[in-house]
């Protein structure tokens, strides 16, 4: 019991300290996505929304359990992504893309990438920290 309480306290402390972290999502993402899991999404870009305060990427999935579906990826704000070295031309419709996302807890075709490596047409891009 004491151990569980300690774990809770440390977990809460971690939450407090992590709050002003490097990535920002004004509505919160931890409750929507598994932050401790990563899945690889491969497919073809259909749309890239470069918008505040969230950008989003839409992919027609070509492999894996979501094959045949249009997968949505929640991205960061343009300002944060620019600071990470991304641009509004990061993705074009028709690009082949491989992206590692935190998957939706609801099991839907949605994932989150607030700071992840992507491969676009065979070229890898890592976010600048």
């Amino acid at each position: 019991m004491k151990t569980r309480t300690m774990v809770r306290r440390w977990a809460f402390l971690a939450l407090v300290l992590a709050a002003p972290g490097a990535v920002f999502a004004h509505h919160g993402t931890g409750a929507s996505y598994f932050q401790d899991r990563t899945v690889e999404i491969k497919g073809v870009v259909t749309e890239f929304l470069w918008r505040n305060p969230h950008s989003a990427l839409f992919i027609d999935v070509t492999e894996g359990p979501f094959k045949g579906q249009n997968y949505a990826v929640e991205l960061n704000s343009p300002g944060v992504m620019m600071r990470q070295g991304w641009t509004k031309k990061q993705f074009q419709p028709g690009d082949d893309v491989v992206i590692h996302v935190h998957p939706s807890r609801a099991g839907t075709a949605v994932g989150e990438c607030l700071s992840c490596t992507v491969v676009v047409n065979g070229k890898e891009t890592k976010p600048r920290q």
Binding site: P20, G28, A31, S32, A56, F58, T108
Partner: protein, 271 residues
Amino acid sequence: MRTRILGLSSFIAVGCASIALAQQPAASFDAKDLNGIWGRGGASPSAANQVKADARGFLPDGGLMTEWGPSSPLTPKGLAQVNANKSGKGPRQVPPAFANDLLGDANPPGLLRALVYGRPFQVIVLPDKIVQLFEWTRVWREIWMDGRKPLEDVGPFWYGMSVGRWDGNTLVAETTGLDARAWMDQWGSPFSDVLKVTERWRRTSKDNLELTMTIDDPVMYAKPWTTTPRNFRFQTKDMPDGEMIEVIFAPVDEQEFNERVRNPAGGAIAK
């Protein structure tokens, strides 16, 4: 032998350099010059020692762990409001698709939430007022320094009505009239329309600005309480936050994002 002498020389050199650095005077600064861009510095380390909340953020004395630190005990109305506020962040978080956070529909965050969020702000000190420009949602607030008294029965304003004065080297700003539909932080910590906030801003060094607030809201909290000191760091041009950028929530964009990403991510609607 030669190696030993070289080693000893290096040790002495490093030691002297360390002493010289330690003896350097602190960079001079004007404590009342708050001009510039200030970025995230986080809560002070002492905040970690105060954490005694349970998994839902409640303290043993009936208070609430907020992003501003531990509150005084909640009133019954305060407790009811905490349970009514569904946030996508913090210890009581729910998927944003099921939250009732007004920000999720691109409404203003309001003053307290803008201060705690961690995006940079710029301070401009003018003869009769101090202007604070927030990068987050690209808004500003004014702290009137022309001797006027705090106004009662004003608002509701998302960014309140603020009157300030210097108490030594501390800028003291009293804010009233805040719109209680906003939250105090990202975690859904509440306040009411009778809230009086007393901010104390202190430039503790050339690079650091400290904010401590007194929260006086007898509707939500049993007695006034003081926030954990929060630090902001001076941003120079070469820093990531050295220039503020446009971060505007446009409802038209937010609505599309919610329909196509946020809600299906939470399982709120079939995608």
